[in-house]
């Protein structure tokens, strides 16, 4: 587990819908949030704006149930495949995915 945080305390985690394969969001994990994600089966991140551990969907009810987690070839990025609980809303704006703005 430590190896993922050898270069940086925070690493990006790409969250992908396991059912549609859409990329929903990118958030950051520290070691504790990865541990809590592995233990609970739901996504936990580190909020860089609030400086706190963050159980995604805890307030909205739109939790992300983890199906699979992959690390990348450099062990410094994670890919988390999830099934969205509650509404199919990953973004705080109410959108299904955070990537709703097309720039090219």
């Amino acid at each position: 587990m430590d190896k993922y945080f050898a270069k940086s305390e925070l690493i990006p985690a790409v969250v992908q819908d396991a059912e549609t394969n859409a990329v929903l969001m990118v958030a950051y994990m520290n070691k504790e949030s990865l541990q809590k994600s592995l233990e609970t089966g739901f996504t936990w991140f580190w909020s860089r704006s609030r400086n706190e551990l963050w159980n995604k969907g805890a307030s909205s009810g739109n939790l992300q149930k983890i199906v699979e987690i992959y690390s990348d070839c450099d062990d410094d990025t994670l890919l988390i495949k999830v099934i969205q609980q509650g509404e199919k809303v990953a973004c705080h704006t109410g959108n299904y995915s955070c990537f709703y703005t097309k720039i090219m």
Copy 2:
């Protein structure tokens, strides 16, 4: 364009296969690499290990042709949908995707 780099000179870019929707890799872009990607239609990144602009696939021939680019709700992450040219290999290890190690 500047808004994407307001918080950080380097932002993560998730590269997704436009044909299969698989997540291939995460790399980092600075302003210049985003500009070159938009101008050329192929992916350019900033290599954090080599400290240089990096035209993905320039040496291997496995270029990534850009189909679409999306920014996220915070304007600090990009999603790039590509069609892989040459071999379908995004990872320097020879794998199709960098995310080939399952940890959960």
